[in-house]
């Protein structure tokens, strides 16, 4: 799980059941500037479809989704 994208904020959402991860991310993204990147790490499999749907409705952009050892990692760019 490594990359060269500069992350401005990381949210550890491991163990939180749906819909908490997407609620927390929707709030967390407002704490970074437009253009910056939020990293969110979750264990909730529902996030795999919830996060992209949320990003599309909220106008943000998921740059990367990675899965490893039960962890799901999203890199999300605040687009507006």
């Amino acid at each position: 799980m490594s990359d060269e994208i500069k992350v401005s904020k990381t949210m550890d959402l491991k163990g939180l059941p749906c819909p908490q991860p997407v609620i927390k991310v929707s709030k967390g993204i407002k704490e970074i500037e437009v253009g910056q990147i939020l990293e969110a790490i979750t264990t909730d499999p529902g996030a795999l479809s919830d996060f992209p749907a949320w990003a599309r409705t909220s106008g943000n952009e998921i740059l990367k989704t990675e899965q490893e050892s039960g962890l799901i990692r999203f890199l999300i760019k605040r687009a507006k």
Binding site: P17, C18, P19, Q20, V22, I23, S26, D44, P45, G46, A47, L48, S49, D50, P52, A53, W54, R56, T57, S58, T65, Q67, G70
Partner: protein, 415 residues
């Protein structure tokens, strides 16, 4: 507040004024019997936590704009202008009410406070001051329905990741683990997005050799929580369309009280049956389609009736039948069944930032559970499960909160 916005809000109010609603708004004598029925007032005896106070905020607007006395003499009696302060009061009224409808059971006139609060919620949407979290979640659900093709692959991948755990629980032979898109299946199981809502039920359905398929959509209806009738129907329609496309006989809703109530009672007649997973488990046990080892789970077990599936939808005896197959040590809370106290997490409240409110107003439920002496509190609703776990930690209750499905899956006897 601008005139245009006020007119818009009054139009929304008017759209809710059918015959039953006018009755609910007209007949209250403010006897106050409802106050003792409310979980919030039972825990924190403040006037603003009474159903009648919450209803009065809406009722005073009704008197001001929809009754001739208020229209002609707004300065007389108890009428209220729509303004920013009133909107704040509507928010407090609507989002301290879980819509559990226990007050309705005690009201001599059967006034439905949840219906009255649906006006408050609709006005808050019109005022753009409804809880952002609930609106966002409703929009996310609708988006998944509109563009399933964009999310299908990731959902399938997420489900694939769960299969090992299903196999570890259910060791029987089967060519299915978590089936998707099965045309002609008997059951379309509609889960929540989390693994906890899928793995135990998949184990049970497979153990019963059921011909089932998992829905691509989550059951929870955030449109209902935020009180948006159009979004409520759009979210439910995703599942209805899927059920019709697959020609399933039965749509089984997971442990989510509101999702079950919406699908069972609020979307009209459909070409399939609707069941709660507790009903399906009771049926399997009665028909010997699954076997469980009684008392594999140790300790005294009590059951928390979720308001939406029990009081408001009638799933009352099935969970008890299931629990009595699992244990010789079942005990009831008092009161129970349709008179059970709300846990304080319903109506979308568990998704909001209101922990102090939820802790304080959960006290009556905590006392009710403590009095049973139970080691395990079982329930059949996600909101209740989240709130009961929250209360367990805040009040250091020393109990375990369990979903019915998890208890059954952990007691399965596999041949």
């Amino acid at each position: 507040m601008e005139k245009e916005k006020k007119e818009k809000l009054l139009d929304l109010f008017r759209s809710k004024l059918d015959r039953p609603m006018r009755y609910y708004l007209d007949v209250c004598t403010r006897c106050g019997i409802c106050k003792d029925a409310c979980f919030a007032y039972a825990s924190v005896p403040k006037a603003q936590y009474t159903p009648v106070w919450r209803a009065e905020v809406v009722r005073k607007i009704y008197k001001r704009y929809f009754k001739w006395t208020g229209k002609l003499f707004p300065f007389l009696g108890e009428s209220k202008e729509i303004d920013d302060e009133t909107m704040k009061q509507l928010y407090d009224a609507a989002y301290t009410c879980t819509g559990c409808r226990r007050c309705m059971m005690y009201c001599p006139f059967g006034i439905d406070t949840q219906a009255i609060q649906s006006i408050a919620k609709l006005l808050l949407i019109g005022n753009e001051s409804a809880p952002e979290e609930l609106s966002m979640l409703a929009d996310t659900s609708i988006e998944k329905g509109k563009h399933l093709e964009l999310y299908k692959a990731s959902f399938v991948q997420g489900i694939k990741n769960l299969e090992k755990e299903v196999i570890s629980k259910w060791k029987g032979e089967s060519d299915q683990i978590i089936p998707l898109d099965v045309e002609g299946a008997n059951i379309l199981y509609v889960a929540l997005a989390g693994a906890h809502s899928i793995i135990p039920t998949a184990s049970i359905l497979n153990a019963a050799r059921e011909n089932w398929t998992l829905s691509f959509f989550e059951a929870v209806n955030f449109g209902a929580f935020v009180g948006d009738p159009i979004k409520t129907q759009m979210i439910a329609k995703r599942i209805i369309n899927e059920a019709i496309r697959l020609k399933v006989k039965e749509v089984t809703i997971c442990e989510c009280g509101t999702a079950y109530r919406v699908m069972k009672h609020l979307v009209g007649e459909q070409p399939f049956q609707v069941s709660h997973i507790a009903e399906v488990m009771a049926r399997y046990l009665k028909e010997d389609r699954i076997k469980v080892e009684r008392d594999r789970i140790k300790g005294l077990i009590t059951y928390h009736d979720p308001c939406q599936s029990a009081r408001n939808s009638g799933v009352i005896e099935e969970p008890r039948y299931v629990l009595n197959q699992l244990t010789s040590h079942f005990t009831e809370m008092t009161p129970n069944r349709e008179y059970n106290l709300c846990c304080g997490g319903g109506g979308g409240l568990v998704a909001l930032e209101n922990e102090t409110f939820r802790e304080e107003t959960g006290k009556a439920k905590v006392n009710q559970i403590k009095e049973t002496g139970a080691a395990i509190v079982a329930t059949g609703c996600e909101n209740c499960h989240t709130q009961l776990n929250f209360l367990k930690e805040r009040y250091e209750m020393g109990v375990k909160v369990e979903f019915l499905t998890n208890l059954v899956a952990n007691s399965l006897v596999l041949e």
